[in-house]
Symmetry: D2
Subunit: 287 residues, 4 copies
Amino acid sequence: MKNVYMIINTSKDPTLTYSCKIMDWLKSKDCKVYIDSYVRECYAFNAIDIEDDSELDEIDFAIVLGGDGTIIHSARRLAMHEIPILGINLGNLGFLAEIEEHEWQENLEKVLEGKFEIETRMMLEAQIYTNGILIEEGFCLNDVVISRMALSRMVGFSIYVNDEFVNYYSADGIIIATPTGSTAYNLSANGPILAPHNEMIVMTPICPHSLTARSIVLSSNDIVRITFEHNRRSWDNDLMVTIDGQEGKEINNDAEIIIQKADLKTRLIQIEGHNFYHILRRKLGGN
Amino acid sequence: MKNVYMIINTSKDPTLTYSCKIMDWLKSKDCKVYIDSYVRECYAFNAIDIEDDSELDEIDFAIVLGGDGTIIHSARRLAMHEIPILGINLGNLGFLAEIEEHEWQENLEKVLEGKFEIETRMMLEAQIYTNGILIEEGFCLNDVVISRMALSRMVGFSIYVNDEFVNYYSADGIIIATPTGSTAYNLSANGPILAPHNEMIVMTPICPHSLTARSIVLSSNDIVRITFEHNRRSWDNDLMVTIDGQEGKEINNDAEIIIQKADLKTRLIQIEGHNFYHILRRKLGGN
Amino acid sequence: MKNVYMIINTSKDPTLTYSCKIMDWLKSKDCKVYIDSYVRECYAFNAIDIEDDSELDEIDFAIVLGGDGTIIHSARRLAMHEIPILGINLGNLGFLAEIEEHEWQENLEKVLEGKFEIETRMMLEAQIYTNGILIEEGFCLNDVVISRMALSRMVGFSIYVNDEFVNYYSADGIIIATPTGSTAYNLSANGPILAPHNEMIVMTPICPHSLTARSIVLSSNDIVRITFEHNRRSWDNDLMVTIDGQEGKEINNDAEIIIQKADLKTRLIQIEGHNFYHILRRKLGGN
Amino acid sequence: MKNVYMIINTSKDPTLTYSCKIMDWLKSKDCKVYIDSYVRECYAFNAIDIEDDSELDEIDFAIVLGGDGTIIHSARRLAMHEIPILGINLGNLGFLAEIEEHEWQENLEKVLEGKFEIETRMMLEAQIYTNGILIEEGFCLNDVVISRMALSRMVGFSIYVNDEFVNYYSADGIIIATPTGSTAYNLSANGPILAPHNEMIVMTPICPHSLTARSIVLSSNDIVRITFEHNRRSWDNDLMVTIDGQEGKEINNDAEIIIQKADLKTRLIQIEGHNFYHILRRKLGGN
């Protein structure tokens, strides 16, 4: 008997018809199904409430119904409790949510029979300091983005790796991404693809003023530090840190940001037959 | 006897020592020197006030003391009165302000003797409509930028050229630049250099989601129309139009933006010995 | 009664079944059909031989059966006799051969009824000099490529535009392309798309050693000159000029290459309903 | 007493004046100096011949006088005998030859006193098979490049990583580089910088036909396999493999190339005060 936590992007399954079908099937297989209380309340979904995250320790695995965004959104909570994730894709092709909508039953059967592997994905931890005091901390599976606020065209920042000065950049911003995040915003900003089974960090400046600025790939043990001490113009003061595209934190020139590999890891349930390069070819087209 | 309008970036000549030296010399050559009234008031600068832009019709040429930014800032006003511009560069090497700080006297002598040519530069006109009503209009020498506001990661927009549909883009934004503007923000966003004596328009998407999106170079007669009708997400609603980096106008999905060659032109005084490729090599380095 | 010249890529219609169908239909419409003598001999194709290019003056229009490559290959000959081209596409989607295989009849009817427009496309002329003596001349619709021969990794060359020095480049080579050629090799080398109705020239370095080297877009009146006088290494001596991908000419460091707009133009028959951006979207994908 | 092997790029020190100064100093410090026999013969250089590579086992460290190219050229031989390298730069700034010409004495003193660290650099091994038979093998510190021969514009190849199909590419070629090689040809072809202390592999297509083709960064344990089985055109048959820019091997469509981390490593003598990012800033410029 398994304890299964269903995380549902209700905008992609608004009537919960699809989710209920899966829940009923899981119950018929003697699983206990857990759900976020706000979903159960709104939808009269007949499952056990997760009222407090401490209950997550009971969970055997999570089914995420939505897409890559929904997985990204839940990644930290699930990583903290070491819960493996099976992503079911209700929208566009995803890198993380490998199971397509219609394939759910055959794949869930394999999961219940233990016919799967766990692929771990590296995460990043970002810490924001002001005058040496930690004011904010966050974890991410994709990326940390430092960018300008509207109206201020350029951000000036200095990058240090393991306390060695790398360079000063004038740019729209910079992306610090994991291998998982390398195929997201990093790719739009001209960064390279990092094969997802690796532990690496990629730094990609966004629209850098200097034409020689390039993506730099670091080892997963490198510690990145970003400061704004040389900013020359007052309007460079409007900066923002965004962690996995979800939390925008305004900062100013006093801030110092430390980004490094997190202790947490995301665990993806991988069922035979899916692979990264196959998805990459379909996503990017090619030939 | 010439009427000379001095436009001074007071942050680059805070004591006006340099500006006064030029003014005194001009007066010694029987020139009448005009200045913006706010400068004269603050600094007791002994020149004739420009109180109303209609007085600009009297001006023979303008000296802009500052850099490319100061020229860009004044470009529309000077273009409307067909005033040629001599830019003196008080900071970094400029593409427009070709005269270096110490070269002022020899070059001004040439200008007073008529030993110069006028190089015209194409400008753009941007019109913003909401529900078919013109709500804003602007002119620029560099570029029109449509971008996201903070927090909204992507903008979705459709581009039409002469009413033919070009493509739908998801991106951080798009730059519509003149040849003059091609070496500014456009270059950071991976756009090509347009030789400045040409009349052309370049459209460069900023961090496009699709990896196949590229800069497109249009003829100067092409009319670009940008709409946001297919935006799918509410947070795509936070859009901004920036004209020559100076006027940020918030718009929303109802807006329609028309960009085309302006009737106005910027007139740059060009003295023998300066040329674009020489500056380009120094700016970009190379080999 | 029209004189129609059929140019057939026999590797794409090896049995000539398709070509014969079109020929028979043309004859039924009182057209005289001309063909290259080598095709007629090999295939017993019942059409009039073109034995000498002077006969091309009789031709009203050419039908090119193949693809963009076949049109490129015939472009110079047809341009010299001002013959409009209708391209029928027997392979992948083309930018020039707009008619799809199955659409031939309805489009040919329109052509015979005069329901079409002629779109002219700018061509380039390349001249290769050694010690001031013209040793080779060529015309192209797409591009002139100067590149290394195998084994020599870098080419060093200086570019002049209208006798102004632009820059010295170390690179794998350089592409000088028309708007038509901008979507060919130029695009792979990171160059911009030039809207095809324009007259412009784009220069794109191939894998330049300097990271600041960028595509430069010139006016169609600019004259490009390329020299190799500063080449430092003997193995830089193995250079090649390729004109429309078809004629490879070995040159060495003494050579000087002049590239400018040709007097010749390619004339494409354009039937309503086809347009460049539509093809671009299908070729590049997008969104 | 140390055994020191001097490797001299005689084109950069043609009179050997500089080399002799270093040799004399080394002898005054009781070092035994070894040299390649062809150098000693030509220049009457008073040092011990290396007549056979087995003698390299006696060597404590090598001084390479030249530049990065000279180090690359010697890398395999020195790696096989685990000889640390001190590179003295006689030309342009180098990434590997960190010691500038005038700094030789102070740095050699530190080396003799043992005040240095050894930085190891990952190397690659390339194997070329035809019909399953190994026909060529090579080692490199920078990169393996598969490219077209002259005249054949595109190469078509399939990439597999650990026997998983990655993609089919049409391109001018592909670069498989180490972190050391990431700042060489890879950078010109738009690839990312890999911090040199890492063990990673980067694959960068050269002028790919598909605009979605991007650099992919792999772990150092990944095995890359390249085949040409889907090449459609006869002229795609002219292929070349180049290993560290030095050995060009012609291959054809039957070939299969395996590239993986070599067992060999290059050992660089690193003296305090030099670091990669400092050189990168000077090489690339920036701001």
